[in-house]
Symmetry: C7
Subunit: 88 residues, 7 copies
Amino acid sequence: MTVKPLGDRVLVKMEKEEEKTKGGLFIPETAQEKTQIAVVVAVGDDKDEIKVKEKDRVMFDKYAGTQIKIDGDDHLILSMGDILAVVS
Amino acid sequence: MTVKPLGDRVLVKMEKEEEKTKGGLFIPETAQEKTQIAVVVAVGDDKDEIKVKEKDRVMFDKYAGTQIKIDGDDHLILSMGDILAVVS
Amino acid sequence: MTVKPLGDRVLVKMEKEEEKTKGGLFIPETAQEKTQIAVVVAVGDDKDEIKVKEKDRVMFDKYAGTQIKIDGDDHLILSMGDILAVVS
Amino acid sequence: MTVKPLGDRVLVKMEKEEEKTKGGLFIPETAQEKTQIAVVVAVGDDKDEIKVKEKDRVMFDKYAGTQIKIDGDDHLILSMGDILAVVS
Amino acid sequence: MTVKPLGDRVLVKMEKEEEKTKGGLFIPETAQEKTQIAVVVAVGDDKDEIKVKEKDRVMFDKYAGTQIKIDGDDHLILSMGDILAVVS
Amino acid sequence: MTVKPLGDRVLVKMEKEEEKTKGGLFIPETAQEKTQIAVVVAVGDDKDEIKVKEKDRVMFDKYAGTQIKIDGDDHLILSMGDILAVVS
Amino acid sequence: MTVKPLGDRVLVKMEKEEEKTKGGLFIPETAQEKTQIAVVVAVGDDKDEIKVKEKDRVMFDKYAGTQIKIDGDDHLILSMGDILAVVS
């Protein structure tokens, strides 16, 4: 089962809760919280727009993207423009 | 009876329910569910924009496109930009 | 009496009800129904944008275009971008 | 007294009611009615955009343009993009 | 005291009421009235956009521009795009 | 303490009330009042867009820009496009 | 733990309250207050758009950007266009 994103889209796998704060990063869990972190699983074919690669941990606005489940795990399809930063 | 999409549009045939979860992909059936899967039946003439081909299984936002029935089967006319990924 | 569309506009004549389902195509008559079919009567002068020709049966979003009556028959002036597909 | 439209604008003189249906064209006078017809009196200086000429009878959306009276007659200043078709 | 408009902006001086109908032009004073006339006092430095010159009488949408008083007289700063026509 | 505007932005210092009407210019103090005058203190680095210089008195829409206080004085950071005219 | 902004984005660290008024700059703490100051920690890779560098103190609209905490400190990811000025 493969999901191949198109154009400038990026498929990411959501991190489990316990992984989110590793390395000192903390996303505030309040009403103002707006970001999430996930790991890149596959990228689209638009070489000019795609600035991340597989296995990058990326940060994005909480309400960005489209939710899907693959083999029971939560994933998102994001547009490259929804990705704010790479976390390492 | 033929429906030929124009420009960057793509005609897709909706999958029956039992087909949707094959290969481990699962679209959550909750209020948040937002994607659907269908099979490409015909593509428009805009070669630069069209990135899918007949028989591709494609994933798109649930509220994208325009519904039509052809010979009793549910179809959609999507714009290429509504298609998020190819599933294989 | 002639109505000559300008630019990328297309003049279409609405089909009578009994013609709409010929060839197995069926537009669902529910609240969700969103498409209609009509026959092209005249096209604008923007050669680059116009992708249909006289006598084509075209499909478009139900609320697209501007209604006029010519010799008692319902017509619409559509923009090329409102036309989704050619039906044959 | 001269009104010279600028750029892609067109000055049109509204037709009297009795003129509107000549030649078999009928604009439905219901809540859905959306078009009107008028005669071009003067055009702007944007040669690339202007596609009509003086004395053309043109059709446009009912709520387009800006109303003025010249010597007691109703006129409109329309943008070229508001004009749907030439009627002859 | 000088007000020099910038870019494609135009400074106009409002006409007194008695001047508005000279030459047979009449702007309807109803709820639908939408245009006004004023005389150009100064123009911006954007030569490509500026299509009027000092002393031109220009017509514009009633709610366009920004009001100022200079030496007690009502003026407006308009963008070139707000000016519909030159009246002569 | 220095505030250096970026791009096409301009830092202006608000004029005291008594300065506003000098030279015969009067900004009406009614509900319709919409302009203000200030003196340019610093300009951004976008040479193509910046059309004013330090010490120019400029006129702008009342609700434009972002308010800051520097050493107790009211200032605004405006975009060049918010500035309507230079007053001299 | 590193957060690397993408494209024209800039990571800034919020200043503690006591730092905000140093050098005579004062951001009014009223309902109208709209700006904040922070120190640049990292910049994106879009060399053409990025006009600030690490350690610059920058001013931005209060509601701009996306909040994150890194090692317990408040940070924001801003787009370059949200940054109004450099304060020094």
